[in-house]
Symmetry: C2
Subunit: 296 residues, 2 copies
């Protein structure tokens, strides 16, 4: 996969400028106390992560000069539901994973009951953040909540995970796989991108452009994830699951070379979707290529 135009610099700048603020906002989202629920929520949310969804939200919001505090609230909400979804995916009844981000999975550290409650509490905290944000225009808060709730629920992560659990890992058709991951992974990237744009008061046409960007980006992201899972070992991916054999995997179904080629095409398609938005879209283009080239 070749690097896109201007890859590197503008995204690195964005990332350098905002990653610290994202981590601070996430830490502030779950005040530290000594209850096991609070500790589990913090462990799930603050363990080291790429913060890809947060950066998508911020980059999309900055395109339209959205206020930084509002974008950080959207970013925190999206990362909170993402952290919740990882904790749930890792449960023994789901992927039965023992390692996540290089550390013991949440249920290994805190027990299943606490891991489940922490995940549900994180989802609720996400909605508290959005609905209670003073930086987001009042009229936009309801829309942000409705869109994020849809992205997490039956039409999004939950529905995608259920379909993934029911899928035939050997015999799944490519279109089934796309449908699963459009919900399981794509919906949250789309919510992040739209959330940033909505908080930035973008026009409907502009929101549509970042939506198409995020759909392509999300699918490319999942294919690269699947490639890394197939190629890699847990020391680079930081993941270890007993149950992953049941999951439909693009790399396994398409073969690594084809999967890699499709991820490249989707990344280029993502870049084209935001090209119309001009030079300010450079961080989004760079971000797409960075995520496609990642090794973990």
């Amino acid at each position: 996969m070749t690097a896109g135009p201007g890859a590197g610099s503008s995204f690195e700048k964005l990332s350098k400028k905002y990653l610290g603020a994202v981590e601070a906002r996430l830490s502030r989202a779950i005040p530290a106390d000594d209850s096991s629920l609070s500790r589990a929520m913090r462990a799930a949310l603050l363990s080291p992560g790429k913060r890809a969804r947060a950066l998508v939200a911020i980059a999309c919001g900055l395109l339209f000069r959205g206020p930084e505090e509002a974008l950080l609230d959207v970013a925190a909400a999206v990362e909170a539901v993402h952290a919740a979804s990882l904790a749930l995916d890792d449960l023994p009844s789901m992927d039965d994973a023992t390692l996540r981000r290089g550390e013991p999975a949440l249920h290994v550290r805190f027990g299943q009951a606490t891991a489940i409650l922490a995940a549900v509490a994180l989802v609720n905290r996400a909605f508290e953040i959005l609905a209670g944000s003073r930086s987001i225009p009042a009229g936009a808060r309801g829309r942000l909540v409705a869109e994020l709730a849809r992205a997490v629920g039956e039409a999004g992560c939950c529905g995608g995970q259920q379909a993934d659990l029911e899928s035939d890992p050997a015999g799944a058709a490519l279109e089934d796989l796309e449908s699963i991951h459009a919900r399981k992974t794509g919906a949250l990237f789309v919510a992040a991108a739209r959330g940033g744009a909505i908080a930035g008061r973008a026009s409907e046409e502009e929101i549509e452009a970042v939506t198409r960007y995020a759909k392509n980006l999300g699918l490319a992201f999942q294919i690269v994830d699947d490639l890394l899972e197939e190629e890699g070992d847990s020391s680079s991916t930081g993941k270890k699951a007993h149950g992953e054999g049941h999951r439909a995997n693009f790399a396994r179904i398409l073969g690594a070379a084809t999967a890699r080629a499709i991820a490249g095409e989707l990344t280029e398609a993502a870049a084209r979707c935001v090209a119309q938005l001009g030079r300010r879209a450079a961080p989004l283009t760079d971000l797409a290529y960075k995520l496609a080239q990642r090794r973990s």
Copy 2:
């Protein structure tokens, strides 16, 4: 426990008038399709229930002449998170219950993974309903979402359930028990009452009155639940749990007679909280006495 003033008639009228509409609104909240996630969500939400929280929301909203459609949306959202909390409480890692509302628990019917995903999807559907309601004034939607999210999360149901799981069933102090159930049961009754009042554009003083009502009602409700659990068998309560021995129970700690007396006092206190609101509050008073006298 003696019946309160005017018990029966005004609540029965309210219940007769609105229960059908509540059930219809709940059914509309989860369109039937043949996916297992959708079937599990419908099974959790539409199994026969008292709809006590829905009726609290509606009765509180009608006090201030809130529009019926708005109150039904609030009622549906509250019942959706309540159904989710029951599905989670019953999981093997929590109360390990096999029977709920006289039917096999959700995880028994659909498996643990689907039960967990259905619960999370129901919580998200609740926020979709509130944030997307056209009947609720736009300015109130954000507040309703923020308050419900708080009631479900760390400060509410999730935190209360975690504290309950960690409690010492034999040695818990009364104040611990009150703190657990203020979050586990009370928070959602309070959210229902406040939600109805907010959707009905009540004043802050009026919202505070129904809040105090709901706090007393919620605690009385839990004590009666505990009494029924201690006295009853699963054929009347419709519940059967292997793990309930670990749960702190008012009747067990206080003794049945004291617990019954306290439930009576709390019910009378609830009635006093809304007495200032005049004759229109009669359904709320009746509802409190009905719930205190229930046998299942």
